[in-house]
């Protein structure tokens, strides 16, 4: 097995999708080839970082405009990885870019018109996934987290002015979205390179933010 042949099969190797004989060939080559071992290490690290993404992102709690349109177009990926390392890297970059864009767009939305915009100073920082330090992720995420806290606080203050029926509707539907975020995030941990899941997650975030902001702005009923 040549280095090129091995690299074409690395994604399937990581996915556990190879037959036993092919795995043995690859492992034999890896034992003797430092360059291919380095390539394998790099891919494994990237998979770990991408797998961390959904868990590292807290649900946003404020409006950001047309987030879906900023996300990468849906790409259907069969299984954990694509059929080649190059494709896999492209999809990985797409998902990372989509999630980073989600937060950057959210941050931009806050800076341009949201009444609930808050400064990064008030944020409770969350962990920034390794490899995304230079994407604006940390800054966007900090604003994102702060705005979420602010909106939740605003909603808590306003609960007495809302009718029991409206409160029930808001609470019930926040639970629906919470459950969706939890389940999609969990699925992304298993299937981190599925852009449709990333889009579903972004959509759920957006719906939750819209609902929270809307509930915070409802006219007093009592």
């Amino acid at each position: 097995m040549t280095c090129d042949e091995l690299r074409r099969r690395l994604d399937d190797y990581l996915d556990g999708a190879l037959q036993a004989e092919e795995r043995t060939d690859i492992e034999a080559h890896l034992a003797d080839c430092a360059a291919c071992r380095a390539e394998l290490d790099e891919l494994e690290g990237l998979v770990r970082r991408l797998g961390d993404l959904p868990e590292a992102i807290e649900p946003p709690r404020d409006l950001w405009p047309d987030i879906s349109s900023r996300l990468a177009p849906p790409v259907v990926v069969a299984g954990r990885f694509g059929s080649s390392a190059r494709r896999w890297m492209a999809v990985a970059a797409s998902v990372a870019a989509a999630l980073a864009a989600l937060l950057v767009a959210y941050s931009t939305g806050l800076q341009h018109g949201s009444e609930e915009a808050v400064t990064a100073r008030e944020a409770t920082p969350l962990a920034v996934p390794a490899g995304l330090e230079d994407t604006g992720f940390a800054e966007a995420e900090a604003e994102f987290s702060a705005a979420r806290d602010r909106l939740l606080a605003t909603l808590a203050e306003r609960r007495d002015s809302m009718s029991p029926e409206t409160l029930r509707v808001v609470d019930d539907n926040l639970r629906v979205i919470d459950e969706a975020i939890e389940r999609i995030s969990s699925a992304l941990v298993d299937d981190p390179l599925n852009p449709r899941l990333a889009n579903q997650l972004a959509s759920a975030y957006r719906r939750q933010i819209e609902l929270l902001q809307r509930a915070s702005r409802l006219p007093a009923e009592t």
Binding site: A180, D191, R196, L211, E221
Partner: protein, 291 residues
């Protein structure tokens, strides 16, 4: 003498309800492209378009209403029912005739709103009032919390929003945006070019055509999305659901997109395509039927 006094008291008691329901009959000038705003807490507001360059306000004020304030000029007129805090018996019934092409803005809490014969832009905000329109304004924006929305003829641009109120639209056209939290959405007929339907837990039902070059987006978390389309529809469909079912009459069967989840997706072109139909749900089912 005592008997006369008794009769006097009885007369006053009988007359009190008539006095309590004070009658309103006011007229003001308003340019055909002027703006009129109406604010009424409870009762009803009926706006009727006519060809006169005047606004006529008729109806009855609630027993504990303080005043009906009418301010402004022929460009911009404000009609506001003044009420004290924490009072009952505030139901005020207003019929407001305005130039049909004027811009009308209405704000209520529980008062129902009815719009008739208007062709100018309409903007309605209410908490629990039922809003009903039976004419085709140039633009229409309605926002409610629990109030239902019934639109007989949508505008070329229509924005409808509710929390738990149900939304019903007939003869939609142009651009239609509908957003609810738990309220159901039903849209039938019309000639839409762009439509966006979003809900968290409400069901969405659309029965109508897909215009050539149109763009239709349906999004739900747990609500069912049902489309009833012409059998000869031409459109590019992109359907996905995380855990709901996809039931499709006019194209191929959906397929799972991940070995790790029950997520399903369905992308296909019906007819010659040319329009975009995007459907997305989390756990809600998707049904596409041919008429």
């Amino acid at each position: 003498m005592r008997r006369m006094a008794t009769y006097a008291v009885m007369f006053l008691m009988a007359a009190a309800p008539a006095w309590a329901q004070r009658q309103v009959d006011e007229v003001r000038s308003l340019d055909p492209d002027g703006r009129v705003s109406v604010s009424n807490l409870a009762g009803s507001v009926t706006v009727v378009g006519w060809s006169d360059a005047r606004v006529q306000i008729t109806g009855t004020l609630g027993k504990n209403v303080e005043d009906l304030q009418i301010e402004g000029d022929a460009r911009e007129l404000s009609i506001e029912v003044d009420v004290p805090k924490h009072a009952d018996d505030l139901d005020t019934e207003l019929v407001v005739r305005v130039p049909a092409t004027a811009r009308v803005e209405i704000e209520t809490v529980s008062a129902t709103v009815s719009i008739e014969e208007m062709t100018g832009p309409i903007d309605v905000e209410t908490i629990s009032g039922w809003v009903k329109t039976s004419s085709r304004p140039s633009e229409l924006s309605i926002e409610t919390v629990s109030g239902d929305i019934t639109v007989a003829e949508a505008a070329r641009r229509t924005d409808l929003s509710s929390v738990s109120g149900r939304v019903s639209v007939q003869q939609a056209m142009g651009r239609l945006d509908v957003e609810t939290v738990s309220g159901g959405v039903r849209v039938t007929g019309g000639d839409l070019e762009y439509a966006s339907f979003e809900t968290v837990s409400g069901d969405i039902s659309y029965a109508g055509a897909i215009a050539d070059g149109g763009e239709f987006e349906f999004e739900s978390m747990s609500g069912t999305i049902s489309l009833e389309l012409p059998a000869a529809v031409s459109a590019d469909f992109d359907v996905s659901t995380f855990s709901g079912d996809i039931d499709n009459d006019i194209g191929p069967r959906p397929r799972r997109t991940s070995q790790y989840t029950s997520e399903e997706e369905l992308s296909f072109t019906a007819g010659s395509g040319g329009s975009d139909v995007t459907i997305s749900s989390f756990s809600g089912s998707v049904k596409i039927r041919a008429r």
